[in-house]
Structure formats: C-alpha cells, structure tokens
C-alpha cells in the first residue's frame, strides 16, 4: 500500500505544475472572452488545432520556434473563424463552438493520416522536443527544486497571469473589454465597437489556446488523436470557477492540474485502484467544482431567479 509520503513528493509537485500549464493558458483565454461576454465553447478545438499545428511546424522545419508560431497562427485563425461565425454571422454560439471543436478534431485526424499514413497519430522522428530549463539556485534548493526544469512555455504561462491581469484590469483596452462584457448595449451607446472588442478577445483566447496546444504536443514530440483529453473544457470551467480574475483562474487551474497530477501518481503508487477510476478523477473534480461554484452562487431565492 502506498504511503502518503510516496504520493506527495517533490516529483508530484513538479508534475502538478506541468499538468497545470495548458489548463492555465486555456483558463486565461476563457476568462478574457468571458469578460467580453463571449462564452468560449471552442477552447477544446482551438487547443487541438494548436497541438497539431505545432507538431507539423516543428516537424517540417526541425525548429521549435516555428512550431510554436505555427500553433499560434493555426489556433489564432481558427478562433477568428469561430468569432466570424458567432459574432458576425450571429450563429448560435454553442452550435458554432461545438462545430469548431468537431472540425478541429476531425481535420487534425485526417491531416495526420494524410501526412503519416498512420491513423490517429503524427510524429516526425527527427523533430526536437521542448526541453527543460534548469533555473540556477532554485534547482539546488531542495524544497523549491520542483520549480526548476520546466519548459519555456510553462514559465511563460505563469508570466502571462500577471500580463493578463494587468491588461484586463489596468489598461484602457481592459476597461473597454469589461464594459463590453457587462453591458454591450451601453458600451455601444458610448461609442465602443462591441464586435471589434469581442473579436480581439476571442483572438487572444485563440493565441493562448495555441500556446497550450504547443505545450502539449511539443513536450511529447508528436500529435495524438484526443491528446487534449477535454482540457479545453476543464480550462473553461477553471475560468468560470476563477470568477473572472486571472489569479482566480490560476488558482482553479492549479486545483485541476493537481488532480491530474495526483491521478497520474496514484497509478504508480496504488496499482490496485482501477486506472479508469483514476483517469476519471480530474473530470469528477471539475464537475464537483462546478456544482460547488453554482451552489454557493445562486443559493439565494427560488427557482425562477436568474
């Protein structure tokens, strides 16, 4: 039987941070679009598209930077398409979002097959993977050593928490973004272009999702069908549970990342627990968080209260 110490060690903390990164990036994107009044159903598809584009970009050139840029461009373009359908053509955002997700899943699977001839995966043997960066000092400080050895995207994600928080709450753009999300009609009366601001918000979430995708596939060194494993949805939940702030989203992402890390770790240390159950853990926690969140929010009055 596993002891608690075996489960909770520095390796686990390291894994938790690693697992948190994509969720965190997605949650930041979800928070930005949510602040603009757009429910970003398409995060999952944007993530998949980014992961795929990163692998293709890196594989064809052998250059990681090209892969990351490809992920940003790919997810960015897809997010603009999503925004165009939802905001300009006024499609139902749920339908358009689900269609975007289905499109991304299908088109990446098909393209993988076209390129590699194998079904469901794509990798380039010579392609590099994103390597760890060791942080001087920190890596030797025993208790903090889990903070060292992450990828450049991991560190960027945490820096982006600060950047996003600053932009949304301190700048002119951020003020307008929040205004548009809160009272779109009033914002229009002030002379703001609601649609333009929402486009930009969706684009920002696309770029963040692209970066998340790059993190997923470039650390693994290939693209696998379903490698996103619902992280787009978990990221969306994290942004909601984070109640519209960058730091709240980061905290929620950390919770979900931790669940994933613990689930992985338990697979090794507690082999008797069915793996399927452990795999389900992150989703169960996500659902629980969502239920808890709604319960504490709306336990006010009767059913008709909106």
């Amino acid at each position: 039987m596993s002891s608690l110490a075996e489960v909770f060690n520095l390796q686990l903390l390291f894994d938790v941070l690693r697992m948190t990164t994509p969720i965190l990036l997605l949650a930041l994107g979800g928070m930005i679009t949510d602040r603009a009044g757009v429910l970003n159903i398409a995060l999952e598809g944007l993530l998949v598209f980014g992961a795929f584009a990163a692998v293709v970009g890196t594989g064809m050139t052998g250059n990681l930077l090209v892969g990351v840029v490809a992920a940003l461009v790919g997810s960015g373009l897809l997010s603009l398409a999503f925004a165009w359908f939802a905001l300009y053509l006024r499609g139902n955002i749920f339908i358009v979002g689900l269609a975007t997700n289905a499109f991304a899943a299908a088109v990446t699977t098909y393209a993988s097959w076209l390129i590699s001839g194998r079904e469901g995966s794509l990798s380039y043997p010579q392609a590099p993977t994103i390597g760890p960066i060791s942080v001087p000092l920190v890596k030797d400080a025993h208790f903090l050593s889990f903070l060292s050895g992450h990828t450049v995207i991991d560190y960027t994600a945490w820096a982006l928490v600060l950047v996003v928080s600053f932009v949304v709450f301190r700048t002119r753009m951020g003020l307008r973004l929040r205004a548009v999300g809160q009272e779109p009609l009033a914002a229009r009366a002030v002379g703001l272009s609601v649609r333009r601001i929402r486009y930009l918000a969706v684009l920002a979430s696309g770029l963040l999702a692209g970066l998340a995708g790059a993190q997923l596939s470039l650390t693994l060194g290939g693209f696998v069908q379903n490698m996103s494993a619902g992280r787009g949805w978990i990221g969306l939940v994290a942004s909601i549970v984070g109640s519209g702030t960058a730091f709240g989203s980061a905290a929620a992402s950390l919770l979900f990342g931790a669940t994933e890390g613990v689930a992985n770790s338990l697979q090794i240390t507690a082999p008797k627990v069915p793996a399927q159950l452990l795999f389900a853990l992150p989703y169960v926690i996500t659902l629980a968080a969502l239920v808890f969140y709604s319960a504490t929010r709306s336990r006010k009055k009767g059913v008709l209260d909106t």
Binding site: R170, T171, R172, G174, L175, R176, R178, A179, Q182, E183, L185, A186, A187, R188, A189, V190, G191, L192, R297, S298, K300, K301, G302, L304, D305
Partner: protein, 511 residues
Amino acid sequence: MAPYLVCEGLSKTYGGTLRALHGVSLSVERGKVHAFIGENGAGKSTLAKIIGGMVAPDAGSMSFDGKPYAPGKPRDAHAHGIGMVHQHFTLFPALTVAENIVLGDEPTRLGQVDIARAVEEVRALSEEYGMPLDPRRRLHDLSVGEQQRVEILKELRRDVELLILDEPTAVLTPQEVERLFKGIRRLIRENRTVIFIAHKLEEVLAIADEITVMRKGRVVGHRDRAEATKEELVQLMVGESLPVHERRYGAEPGGEKLVTRELTIRDERGRPELDGITLSVNAGEILGLAGVEGNGQQALEQVLGGLITPTTGSVVLNGAAITRASPARRRRLGLAYVPADRLEWGCAPQASVFENAMTQCYRRESTAGILRRRRLRQVVRSMFKRFDVRAPDLDSPISSLSGGNIQKLILARELGSERSERLEAIVISNPSRGIDIRGVQFVHDLLAGYRDAGCAILLISTDLDEILALSDRIGVLYTGRLVAMLPGQGRTSKTELGRYMLQGDDKERAA
C-alpha cells in the same frame, strides 16, 4: 434668433408597419429648454433618437448650427456636440463613477488608465455643475438620481452643446427633480441647449421655454411657455378633452386580508433587498407603496406573487400562510398578481395574444388535457370586451400590441376571469407605466372598483401621482425597509412623501 437645430419632414417606420413618425418638422433655438411632450407612442423618443444619432430616419433632413446634420451613429452626434441621456441608463453597474464617465475617452499614463486623473476630472465637473457624486463609488451602490447625474456628467465631459434628456424625471423624487432643474438652468446660462422629453405637464411647465406637442407621430402644436396652459396641452396630446374624474377613496376598510411579517430577502452578498417588511392590507383598502425605483419594490412584488421565497419572514392571506405557496396556489386562494415588468414577467412576448390571454383559464376550458379552442376563444373575446383590450388579431404575437393594450390584457387575465368574484387581494406594481392617459384612467377606475367590492389591494408604484390618487394609506420603501406609513386620501403631500423617499440622502447631507 436664428434656429439652431432644424428638423424637416422626418419620417420613420419600424419593421415595415409601425409608423413612428410622419413628416415631423420643427426647430429648436439655442440656449433654450425645448420640451417634447406627448403620450406614449407619440414619437417623442423616436424623434430624440434620430437627433441623437441612434436611429436613422427613412425620410427628411436635419441641420445643426447652420450646417447639414445627418448622424449615422451616436459618435457622429457627439462629434457635433449633441449628447443624449436615455430613459434607461447606459451605465456599467460594476464599474466606478469615474470609470463610467471616462469610458471611451480615458486618460492614460504609461499604458494604464490614469484613474487618479479621471477621479480628479469627475470631481471638478461635479462641483462645477452642482451635481454631488463620489467618483470612486461603484455604480450599483448609487441611487437612480445619482446614476442620472453620472449620465449627465458623462455628456458634459464631452462638451455637449445640445443635451437631450429622455424622460429624465420619471425615476426621480420631487427633490431630485428640483436639483435636476437647477442643473438644467445652469446649462442654459452657459448658452447650451436642452431638449427635454416628458409626459408630466407640471414639470414641462416648470422648466421649458418652448413646448412641442406630438401625437401619433406628428407634431400637433407648438407653444411658447408664456402662452401655454395645462388644459390646452392635454387636449392637444390626447386629441380630445378628457372628462375629469373625481377621486373616490375607499370607505371604512374591513379586516386584515394580506399580511406580511418581517419579510427579509438577502442577495448573494448578504445585503438585504428587503429588510423586515411588516404590513397588512385590509379588505376594501388600497395600500400604496411609494419609493424610488430600486428600493426593494421588485423583491417585494415577487415574494408576494410567489416567484421567490423570502430568506426569513412570512406572508399570510386570509389567515393562511402562503409564504412558500406556488403562484398557482396563491391564485386559487384568491390572490392576483400583476407584475411591473410586463414583458419580462407579465407575458410571453413571442406567444400570441390568444395564448397569453388564456393562461389563467385554459385548465377549466379543456377536456382530458385537450383545449377546447372554440370555447376558449369565446372566453378570451368576452374578457377583452369587458376590459377594452383592442387586439385586431388574436393570433399575432402579443408584442405587436401597444403597452396599454398589453397591460389591459394582463389585467383582464389576472382579474377578469370568471372566478374573479372570489378575488381576495391584488398585488399590482406600476400598473400605469408606459400607458396613455386614457389607459391610466381605466386602470385606476378598475382598481377603485375592486377596492369598493372588498378586495385588499397593494399598489406598489414609483409614480407619486398614482400613489396619491388612489391610496387610502401610503407606505414608503427605502433601501428595502418600510420607513413610513402615512395617511392617504389626500392627507399627505407630495413633498412630504418625497422627503421619506430620500431619507438616505438627507442623512448623507447631514453627515
């Protein structure tokens, strides 16, 4: 003096059928208060929106300050120095006063919004125009009167030369109206121009220099303040002279019918929306509840109607506790509820006139769950006849009716079904909002009739004239509390009521 703003032949048709304006021509002089008056649907707001750049006319032209003026959007109007304060404020509740005012034209420093400078600018403006406001407070903590000041300061910060105020007094207490008028006079002294849209004649006569009367999308008269009389203006607005109704108040009331004890409702943040409301409405009495909008009216009407349950406290009808009873059960017990927000809570806007009208009587008129449509249509038609609902087509959506007809339909449905003989109590909120003078008289006569028949009526209204015209007793709601219970039947003055409605402001000023 040369005309400042000139409109010529403006026409506007909405959605292909609803003719809002037919060839309206008028001119507004600089440095004057020009009032547009008329009943609901007369076209005043449409005209104002065309001038403000919110709506483009189908035909006609305008000139402003000697130059052609054809705004495509509000921003174009602003560029010409024309600004508008809407009836429904276009503000952001979660932002601060300063953020609301500078939004769209924010001072920045090193990429950040310079909040300190925004606060300073707003403070200076509010002092200059005698409109006290704390720039750092969040909008949702402000009274409606204060929110209106935010709107006006927002326009003044953009140096508007012509300010359009769309029904600015509808939500204000008499004292706040006075303060608003002071602000308007100050603008006039600076040679700015104000277009003032209203339907209360006393206010128009108190502030306007010139008056344009509209009816059914046309200008039907233009008067200087000096030559205008109230009687003539009413006649122009309505198109005929109205019989003067004498006010009948109730006789000696009977026993308690509808009672609330210590009703409290808290919002998510734990702040009370209703705070220990204890009141009783007697048989054969109209209890009027006055108060500035947003002081707990909505929570109270919904708790009585059964849409929400209170955090603590109870509601009793005829001795039976109904605190947690469903709306349907309340109705069976003889409680009718007519909500203030007709389109949100009073009807299903997309459904047809017929479907909306039958929602109280369809159970009786069906067999084994199948509607007896022919019989139902008869019931609805006779209901409409009694309540003077004018609906040319039972199968068109209810939203195609005018506000007054929708209100009459709801009244007919809630009060006029055959079992209404057993009506014990009526909870009715802002029944005459947005309906014309004749509609208001109809509603008031109806309520007086039910009162005389022994019904207990709780009339929640933000319209002081309505409260004063009907109430046998008058309560005042302020920040969710019942702060006063005063005698009605003409024994309490408007100013006195206004003082109670403003309680908090008095305290603030004293502090």
